[in-house]
């Protein structure tokens, strides 16, 4: 189980995410919650220049790794229903619940917010439950 974990890159990546959230908080006093930042852009809030900059950086950072450091990707089949249904629920749920893995998880837990702890436990549990249900369903159907 643990043989397959890329411990060094996972830990380094996690630390970089933590440092990113620290930089945004110390420089601009903002929480690095991706869904909240995206919502600000979608709502065309007047003070959204920083949100656009953050999202441009986010895409650039991911793309840089993909182009210069990413290995051969296996190439996935096109998954219409999981992406459309899953994406929609993530968009709806993160606005309703006021955050995602970054806002509630990385930043909320760092602030010792009880709300964020509850949200994190609930979305992890719900994710585990649906993966279990899908596994049983796929097993039964197959």
């Amino acid at each position: 189980m643990f043989d397959d974990v890329p411990v060094f890159s996972a830990l380094t990546g996690g630390v970089l995410i933590g440092l990113s959230a620290t930089l945004l908080l110390v420089a601009c006093g903002r929480i690095a919650g991706i869904s909240g930042i995206l919502n600000g852009v979608l709502d065309r809030r007047s003070d959204s220049a920083w949100r656009w900059l953050f999202l441009i950086g986010l895409v650039a950072g991911g793309t840089f790794h993909h182009l210069f450091l990413g290995g051969e990707s296996a190439g996935e089949s096109t998954l219409v229903l999981p992406m459309i249904v899953g994406g929609f629920l993530v968009g709806f749920g993160t606005r309703m619940g006021g955050g995602c893995t970054s806002g509630h998880g990385v930043c909320g837990l760092g602030r010792l917010s009880l709300r964020s702890l509850v949200a994190t436990l609930v979305f992890v549990a719900a994710g585990m439950a649906i993966v279990y249900v899908l596994r049983c369903w796929a097993g039964g159907a197959g």
Binding site: M1, P6, S9, L11, G13, G14, V15, L16, G18, S20, L23, L24, L25, V26, A27, G29, R30, S35, L38, L53, F54, L55, I56, G57, L58, A60, G61, G62, H66, L67, T78, L79, M83, G87, F88, L89, V90, G91, F92, G93, R95, G97, C100, S102, H104, G108, L109, G110, L112, L114, R115, V118, A119, F123, A126, M128, A129, I130, V131, L134
Partner: protein
């Protein structure tokens, strides 16, 4: 100018960190959620690394009177654990398990030009906008 540069660097660090830690790989994420299958604890290591940093640094940062480039800290004001928080987290968790993407890795993967990511990001924005119209929040 400094604050704009800081935001851009912060975003880039976040996106690079997600890619380096393989959280942009939906199989890694689904592997973490698949507790009855071949469980993959990678996500715990990533989240542990990130929260390990914020737990220490936020303590010092929030002791400051104000951020370096702004007048005030913009922190969430809600403290109550209410229905929308829990129901929203349930819906998010289900969507996360179905797709294997949460918003950060989904957006950070746009540059891979994957059709799956494109569909995910489109649906993510649609879900958020529909929620705003339904709940007016």
């Amino acid at each position: 100018m400094m604050s704009k540069l800081a935001v851009l660097i912060s975003g880039a660090l976040f996106g690079f960190g997600l890619a380096l830690s393989q959280m942009v790989d939906r199989q890694r994420v689904i592997g973490f959620l698949d507790v009855t299958g071949d469980w993959d604890p990678t996500l715990i290591v990533v989240l542990g690394g990130a929260v390990g940093v914020t737990l220490v640094t936020f303590r010092f940062v929030l002791r400051r009177a104000c951020p370096a480039c702004e007048e005030v800290f913009h922190l969430p004001s809600k403290t109550k654990i209410d229905g929308p928080l829990v129901l929203g987290a349930v819906l998010f968790g289900v969507g996360w398990g179905v797709s294997g993407y949460c918003p950060g890795p989904g957006l950070a993967s746009i540059g891979t030009a994957s059709i799956n990511v494109a569909m995910y990001v489109g649906a993510l924005c649609a879900g958020s906008i529909v929620c705003r119209m339904v709940l007016r929040k």
